[in-house]
Amino acid sequence: MADLVNLTIDGRQLQAAPGTLLINAAKEAGISIPSFCYYDGLALQAACRMCLVEVEKTPKLQVACTLPVTEGMVVHTDSPQVRQARKGMLEFLLTNHPLDCPVCDKGGECELQDMVFRYGAGESRFIDTKVHVDEKQWSPIVFYDAPRCILCYRCVRICGEGLGVNALGIGNRGVASEIVPNRGDHLECDECGACIDICPVGALTSGTYRYKTRPWEMRHSPTICTHCSNGCKTTLGVRNGEIMRANNRDHSGVNGEFLCVKGRYAFDFNGHPDRLTSPLVRVNGELRPASWAIALATVAKKWTELKARKSNFGVIGSNHTSNEENYLLQKFAREVLGTSNIDHHRTGDVAGLLQALHGRSNALATTADLYNTKAALVVDSDLAQEQPFLAFHLRANMRHHKAHVYVVTPGPVREDNYATSVRAELGQEFEALESLRERLAAEPELVILFGAAIKGEAVNRLVAFGDSLGIPVKYVCLVDYSNSRGASDMGVLPDLLPGYQPAAEPGWNYDQILAAPDLDALWVVGANPLSRHQLAAKNAFVVVQDLFLTETAQRADVVLPAASAYEKNGTVTNVCGDVQKLSRGPKTMGAKPDLEIIALLAREMRHNWGSITPEAAFAEIRSTVRGYNVPFVVIETGGAAAATPSMDGTNFQSQPELIRPANNTLYTSGTLGRFSKMLNSLMEAPGELYHDPRKKPVVKEGSVQLETTRTEK
């Protein structure tokens, strides 16, 4: 490393790496230089002029956000001249600002307010008429109020540089300059709302949140998004038990500032009027509301009877429930019901990968690896749609570290804009990989992310290909739902126990459970197998735990209303194995977390499991599940720690026919997505994987409706 540069800021002797921008050198030392347009990780603008500082021996004030430190530099960030400049700048900014803070969504968490409070003038000398432009709605999600806009261009940059969407631009010039959307009067984009979140003022507001509440009326509850497998932290703003918004303002999750449309806006399934709020028990062929006591007793009684008759149980677990719930579910199945007939909807061959990698450590890539590795290869995934945060992360790696990205996909993907792309039909991936061999082998290291087309024997082949490159290679098996990895890691599988230990006697798998004519009881927790499959056993006793009366729940004998992931504590494991904490935000009266339901059922079945709490279950997982002895403090404080599962590589037979990708686009999310009014109101929804951007945009028939109010419950 080059020698550090010595400089003085506000009388303090400091050192900084050569090339460090003055604003960052000051920040490192705890000296705050205000700015609007400077934003870590995005292109420099020098537009807001808030960061002007005095540098000795230069005649004019200097812009700290673009000025690299130099040896012997003497800087004053709080001199009378600097203070006067900041005050003057804010006075300029406020001349055309509407000052409608009392009704502005941003009031209370507005950077302009804070800046004026700290540095500004309490009175204005402006007595003339302000420029006014009416507010515009660009999509069900994005509203733009030009007079509030301070033109820091953060939104333009996050959309273009960050997301690669480039849906926002700058229109007009001079004082009439404003942000403009890509389709003239409306937006056609990812609807991710990153522009809204990054806006320092209330210029960009969201259809889900605007004019609903004040920031200080909400409880801010950080948890993990329950849609895709990327495990983005989302902070739920909860007022009176209702989610008012989701964002990630503290940027403390693996996802930094990223959230997609689902993480930020598709929380509304949670408050959907169709949420189940009471257990239902089938009486005379009809599901009728019942008390929890009666419903639980009905289930326990039936199961006890069936167990006594050595009946066939089948358990289908969830891709959305917590690790603790998955762990207890398989424990319940194996210990209480005495069955190994347990499985879940598998969306990627995680076990197959672990088997292929048996005997080696450090071959699974963590989320952070995607940002730090020199090269990445994506095989068979429309990453920007199916794994939106991973796509963002890789893009950031490319932008910040010049990482090389390669994709092998059956159709066009957004990564094509910056990656080396090869098109390969399903099953032809390896020919395509060979064509990239030389370039990949020339990379210093590589992360390979592969989708559901690579399963069974193909996983071994892919790992062999990786080995043959002669460089360090790490892998990510792409799975699709918020806790797909957790379900697999926790042994919600017929042949593998938690931590991928082989089961003594494998039970029926997913397809076998559904196809068995002699199945006596089916217990479905947070899954909807009957939306796509038939249940062969016509007379089986079916118990379903879910948020909604799904196709499967409609077939049930007992339906137990479950809490959503946003309504419970626990942990989930993302696609890269990072374990993170769920914490309860809102509450739906009448519903219970699956963990509580499982515990209550255990008690009803006279099994003394002691006090069942998410914390206790997590402690048990940490101490018993291989690869899950993750640092407690990291998880507890809202951090992410990678689980390191492994397999001994014996006796395991991958079952590729059971691996079925969810094929969710950016705007679909399985059952949850069906109940998100916001997702369904988007003109971009449902979208299409591998969509060619040169073709006409995908617009759903009759989908262009700009409605912003949620149905009252």
């Binding site: 020098a46 003057g88 700048m89 300029f92 000398r125 033109l151 001079g174």
Partner: protein, 434 residues
């Protein structure tokens, strides 16, 4: 075409061909020492060329007055990147109308100047960026470029040197800001004319991310004659460090407004009285805006001054683009200040806060003031707001708006005060409730 009578006091160096019949044709140019300089230069090293330019003490005629030889010396050699030669013909500074004449009457002189720049940095490509309003000049310059290609002064292997140079015209579409060199480059690249962050300067990272020589039309047009007659000869026409002649565009209240080529350092009062026949209608002189609307006005008693970069800088104004607006005693300075600020508010690109908001606020104050709603405190407010812009904006446009405005209120405070007297009934309340 000539639009005003020449003056016998002129020193016709770069305008020497203006009155020749068919002055735009290559035959005329060749018959009058045209393309002699490039033949000479093709035998010179870049160092020698730059040295000659430094000797000539030619300074940029666009506004900043930066020594041209020095500017060329900043272009890095052998970077492996292509290099470009760009002509700034986006003449938009209010008061200025000289580049128009140079292109209209002697396009080959400009082409030859650019060729010399091209050879100096071994560039293979140049562009003449002509403002959109000068649409007719594109046809004239395009025709001249065609002629130069036909005669082998452009294209492959120019005059057997083995060096290729292509030249093209490019049009703007109405934006003063594109006269700022980095904004011009953005515009050339098909973008909004938002200036770039500096450093790097265009010499190092200019057009298409490559090293670039970028000069004004008049600067390039001055170069052939320097190499025909020598740098020392050229320098001798002007004053020390201010070599040569320049086209001075005189407008406003004089008897004979017009564009006149005069040596650097020519006295302003002589220009008004002897070249332009004095102030119109026997009126007294009130002020002169000496270098385009961005330059602070000189009061009548400050006008006995040599017109060169250094003398005007010493008088806290600037030679700028050579656009001189002469204002007589009846001039309403508030109206001039307002019109000036309207211009900058209209032309501010909007990128940075102080320029975008400052120009508009000042325009509003001046507009209200002009309409009779002024307050006494506005006079100081105008000065303070100008000071809050000065030196704090992203590019020089903010300074260009602030400097003349600050000078108007400082030098012509009486005029502002008189407005208050005249419009007592209409004044806005002194204490604004916000």
């Amino acid at each position: 075409m000539r639009y005003n009578q020449p003056s016998p006091l002129e020193v016709r160096v770069i305008s020497q061909h203006f009155d020749l019949p068919n002055s735009t044709s290559i035959e005329t140019y060749l018959a009058n020492d045209g393309y002699v300089a490039i033949r000479k230069v093709l035998g010179m090293t870049p160092e020698a060329i730059i040295e000659e330019l430094k000797t000539s003490s030619l300074r940029g005629r666009g506004g900043a007055g930066f020594p041209t030889g020095m500017k060329w010396s900043f272009v890095p050699r052998n970077t492996g990147k292509p290099t470009y030669v760009i002509c700034n013909s986006d003449e938009s500074e209010p008061g200025t109308c000289k580049d128009r004449l140079l292109m209209e009457n002697d396009p080959h002189q400009l082409i030859e100047g650019m060729l010399i720049a091209g050879w100096t940095i071994k560039s293979n490509r140049g562009y003449i960026f002509i403002r959109g309003e000068y649409r007719y000049l594109i046809d004239i310059v395009d025709r001249a470029i065609e002629e130069a290609y036909e005669r082998g002064y452009l294209g492959k292997n120019i005059l057997g040197s083995g060096w290729d140079f292509d030249l093209y015209t490019h049009t703007g579409a109405g934006a003063y800001e594109c006269g700022e060199e980095s904004a011009l480059l953005e515009s050339l690249e098909g973008k909004r004319g938002i200036p770039r962050m500096k450093p790097p300067f265009p010499a190092v990272v200019g057009a298409f991310q490559s090293p670039t020589i970028l000069n004004n039309t008049e600067t390039y047009s001055s170069i052939p004659v320097i190499f025909r007659n020598g740098g020392a000869w050229y320098a001798g026409l002007g004053t020390p460090k201010n070599g040569g002649t320049r086209l001075m565009c005189v407008s406003g209240h004089v008897n004979r407004p017009g564009v006149y080529e005069l040596p650097m350092g020519f006295n302003l009062m002589r220009l008004i009285n002897e070249v332009c026949g004095g102030v119109r209608n026997g009126k007294k002189l009130k002020a002169v805006i000496p270098g385009g609307s961005s330059s602070p006005a000189l009061k009548a008693n400050e006008c006995d001054i040599p017109l060169d970069y250094d003398s005007l800088a010493k008088a806290k104004t600037m030679a700028g683009s050579g656009g001189l607006v002469v204002l007589d005693e009846d001039t309403d300075i508030v109206a001039v200040a307002l019109r000036t600020m309207k211009f900058y508010a209209h032309e501010s690109c909007g990128w940075c806060i102080p320029c975008r908001e400052g120009t508009t606020w000042l325009k509003k104050i001046l507009s209200r003031y002009h309409e009779g709603g002024g307050r006494r405190s506005d006079i100081d407010l105008i000065g303070e707001l100008a000071a809050n812009m000065l030196g704090r904006t992203f590019c020089p446009l903010g300074d260009a708006a602030a400097m003349p405005t600050a000078a108007f209120v400082a030098k012509f405070r009486d005029d502002f005060e008189a407005y208050l007297e005249k419009n007592k009934s209409a004044q806005a309340p002194e204490l604004a409730v916000v």
